[in-house]
Point group: C2
Chain length 315, copies 2
């Protein structure tokens, strides 16, 4: 469930006008920007962008880019994009930053719906004149490539049908690969990268019941192995995305300093999807609400924007 | 260019009525079926199917299935399907028949446009409650899987932009893999399965100019190796589909007996796409027109339907 709050009345023309006013004169009216953009859904934001362009002859994103800065700029820009444009942007950024950011690619490949992931691929074509899988394959190698490319390429079936005979068979295949320490086994990767989420869930439940451990426990033989970390993250994204995102938020917030890059990414990409569930999970796991954690770790307009996106205050 | 001829006037309701009449009484009026269906494009055939279902409460494909038989039945049924449903059907049939039919999967993966291939994947979900790549990955193994799965999964960029620096670099990578006899090299497969057709063409032209042979010549070290055959076919499908299809037709027609399975497949899948080019290529390569070759090798309603689809006679 989404957390953003959208008012009953909406006029793209009025919003565009208020935004344009917010940019005028000395300084910028950040409060107005938050009160408008943080409370509009993807379709509405797209309409505002179109009307803004028609009326003022300037791209709204470019105008925001000129007026804002730092973490607040990033959260507003990412949020304003449509989900598929935003994911295409994040994926391209991750590819350019190379190895450190395979997580972002994995997250996009494994937590979006099949059609949403396809929309990301179309947006990537349109913006970067290349295909997403082409860039991912080009910039990775070895086991990481073997895992990441099929995940990014996938177009999974999304029905609820489960074949239990197959689930048992494939749980056994996975178990054997893991017992033999063949963590890059091509059958293991085939199962993870092609089966529907419902089928995979049945397979992994059977794995747990039959072999005594959740699969991710059996995959924790070497906590520092980058490939194994990605493999576990893929399984978590595919079966319990809210737990995966809770952990990303937890690590982004905890300790000295904040990882604003991850915090902004998770909140802008999930606010219209399953942020309500992620907040519950966060509260359960950390005994503090996500609101409180964000308030403690961020400040100013950036803080206000994040809080608005996770449902704080009124539309 | 397509070969089918469509009349200026079209009424789905009239067509549905004429088809229903053709099925009635003792025997079937095959001439009417050909005169209608062979001269309607994909959108029109879909409309006729919808109206037929509404009016007579029966699926048109089921009715055709009851009335017709053998090669004529197959060509009419395959043709009547929409292109994406037809490809999904052919792919599923190929998967069930296993190893002998990797060609069909390869052909679908490499000769359809990116959006058409995506439509096949959607049709596959809808009809078989599974994903195409899931079935292909499950039913293949070894080098064949390594090649076929990424080809089937691809969603290539389709712009004309070419990066010549990259083309030179990747031609060299391919050359080195082939010189070392590493025909299943993952870089080689990455390039073939992810680059746009325009980019790939530039790379392979550079390969030819720089290293003295077309790549397919260098890949002909062992004429009976199944993997190498598929690799060469993939390259042909991606760069000169009309030559690939000409060869499939040539082999289907030549010698004793005819491979109706392949003949029907190529004609039904290309009649609305590039059959005109394939006919030219066939004539050039065999010094006989495709019409003549088909007339010599087939007969009856099957022959009439094939000839109508490749543009013989009037709409």
């Amino acid at each position: 469930m989404a957390t953003i709050k959208v008012p009953a009345q909406f006029s793209a023309a009025e919003d565009a006008e208020r935004l344009q006013k917010a940019f005028q004169g000395w300084g910028t009216d950040e409060a107005s920007i938050i009160s408008i953009l943080a409370h509009r859904n993807a379709v509405q934001r797209k309409l505002i962008q179109e009307i803004y362009k028609e009326t003022y002859g300037e791209d709204l994103l470019k105008a925001l880019d000129k007026e804002l800065s730092s973490d607040f700029e990033r959260v507003v820009l990412l949020w304003t994009l449509t989900p598929s444009e935003r994911d295409a942007y994040l994926a391209n950024e991750a590819i350019k930053l190379l190895t450190a950011n395979n997580w972002v690619l994995l997250e996009i490949a494994c937590t979006r719906s099949s059609l949403d992931l396809f929309a990301v691929k179309q947006a990537y074509h349109a913006r970067y004149k290349k295909s997403l899988e082409e860039d991912v394959a080009y910039h990775t190698s070895g086991d990481i490539r073997k895992l990441l490319v099929p995940l990014v390429c996938s177009f999974r079936y999304e029905g609820d049908e489960v074949n239990m005979t197959l689930a048992k068979k494939e749980a056994k295949i996975m178990r054997e690969a893991i017992s033999d320490k063949k963590h890059n086994d091509e059958e293991l990767i085939r199962i993870l990268s092609t089966r529907s989420k419902a089928q995979l869930n049945a397979t992994l439940n059977h794995y747990n019941n039959e072999f005594g451990n959740p699969i991710n426990k059996d995959l924790k033989t070497d906590p520092n192995n980058e490939y194994l970390k990605l493999l576990r993250a893929a399984i978590k994204c595919l079966t319990s995305p809210e737990k995966y995102f809770e952990k990303v938020l937890r690590l982004a917030i905890k300790g000295m300093g904040t990882d604003e890059w991850a915090l902004t990414r998770v909140i802008t990409t999930r606010a219209e999807v399953d942020m309500e569930r992620i907040k519950e999970e966060y509260h359960r796991r950390n005994s503090v609400t996500l609101e409180k954690a964000i308030t403690g770790d961020t400040s100013g307009d950036y803080e206000k924007m994040l809080l608005a996106l996770i449902g704080h205050g009124d539309a």
